[in-house]
């Protein structure tokens, strides 16, 4: 199951500002919608998203039901050194996901 598509440049020059994009598969059920039986569908959204670069947090977000289904984020970071950029997100059911991307910095 494809949980996410992550775009991190494979290579960058030290000091360059690079753009990072993350697209996650998630219904982002608002908790305000009724199902076919007329009852409210329980809320289930990704409520927290964290991006780290070699272990250090470079970006994070607290999310609310107003974030669109299959959430998309783009943000920037300075290419500091080669290593791993990790993405973690947690939904209302407590499910945590992790995706990583490698970057080579010259």
């Amino acid at each position: 199951m494809a949980r996410a598509l992550i775009n991190v440049p494979a290579k960058a020059k030290r000091g360059d500002i690079i753009e990072i994009k993350a697209l996650m598969s998630h219904p982002m059920e608002t908790g305000y919608r009724t199902g076919p039986d007329g009852a409210l569908v329980p809320r289930d959204i990704i409520n927290r998203f964290i991006c780290t670069y070699n272990g250090e947090e470079i970006f994070s977000a607290d999310l609310f039901p107003a974030i669109a289904a299959n959430p998309f984020f783009s943000f920037t970071t300075i290419a500091m050194e080669s290593g791993r950029i990790a993405f973690r997100w947690i939904d209302d059911r407590g499910q945590a996901h992790l995706e990583t991307a490698e970057i080579a910095v010259e």
Partner: protein, 264 residues
């Protein structure tokens, strides 16, 4: 004002505008006059479709790729086990669907063809129509033909079914008594509520519709149109949908396939 629709100001407007229409089929319209739904979208939605890391349909494509390579059914075979690299073996395939299926003597759409393969060659349970898995595999196959011209309808045996699809397209139906052609041939480019009515070229299915917040098939989209004219939609998998798709895809010949497209 139509009694039935009293209070439905928008529906009444719909009737007023469309009664003016001269439904001329686009069947023979030359290529430059044909416009993909892409051209009727906002620049923001166009940008979403064009960036593979922003287009949510690519999540289904990625999932479809995983399914392509996954062993399934009693035979333990994967799609790739027989077909190899989809980038080679499936290039151009989605662009010619629906095709004539000799075993049934009728046209078959891509989703059902995937299920035939699943059943006969993998000995696996077919995926339900409109399931995430079937949409994912269809999107993955569609992506292998992205940018290629649509070639549907070359097989002469398809002709009676294409003609049946055209009949359905031009036939008035539902409480509002509109045909597909009334809107999409006679009034494309004008507005229904605040949406622009596109021409009906299904160049990007399965596609990610913002309204659905998900991927969906052309059948799902046709159902939405039928509900729009207050008609009872055909059940999923009906031959009517395949004939309609065949007519529309044959008419769209030469236009580039956009799967996975994004639409409002």
């Amino acid at each position: 004002m139509n009694r039935v629709l009293k209070g439905f100001a928008q529906a009444a407007w719909f009737g007023g505008a469309l009664s003016l229409a001269i439904p001329l089929a686009l069947a023979e319209s030359p290529l430059p006059e044909r416009k993909s739904g892409f051209e009727f979208m906002s620049p923001e939605s166009q940008a979403t479709q064009q960036d593979d890391f922003s287009n949510p349909g690519m999540l289904w494509v990625a999932e479809g790729e995983a399914l392509w390579n996954a062993k399934a059914g009693a035979t333990g075979r994967s799609c790739a086990g027989c077909h190899g690299d989809a980038a080679v073996s499936m290039k151009g395939v989605a662009a010619r669907y629906p095709v004539f299926f000799a075993e049934s003597g009728r046209p078959i759409d891509l989703q059902s063809r995937i299920n035939v393969c699943r059943k006969t060659n993998q000995d696996a349970t077919p995926f339900p129509l409109e399931s995430r898995e079937l949409l994912a595999l269809s999107a993955f196959l569609g992506k292998q033909s992205r940018g290629m011209p649509i070639t549907t309808g070359e097989d002469k045996r398809l002709e009676p079914f294409r003609a049946r699809g055209q009949e359905l397209y031009e036939q008035r139906q539902g409480q509002l008594n509109f045909s597909c052609a009334n809107c999409h041939d006679g009034n494309w480019g004008r507005k229904l509520a605040s949406s622009v009515i596109p021409q009906s070229h299904p160049t990007g299915y399965p596609l990610y519709r913002l309204e659905w917040q998900s991927m969906g098939s052309l059948q799902r989209r046709l159902r939405n149109c039928m509900v729009g004219v207050r008609a009872e939609p055909y059940p999923y998998g009906s031959q009517e949908y395949v004939d309609l798709e065949l007519f529309l895809m044959t008419r769209a010949r030469g236009m580039p396939l956009e799967t996975p497209a994004v639409r409002p």
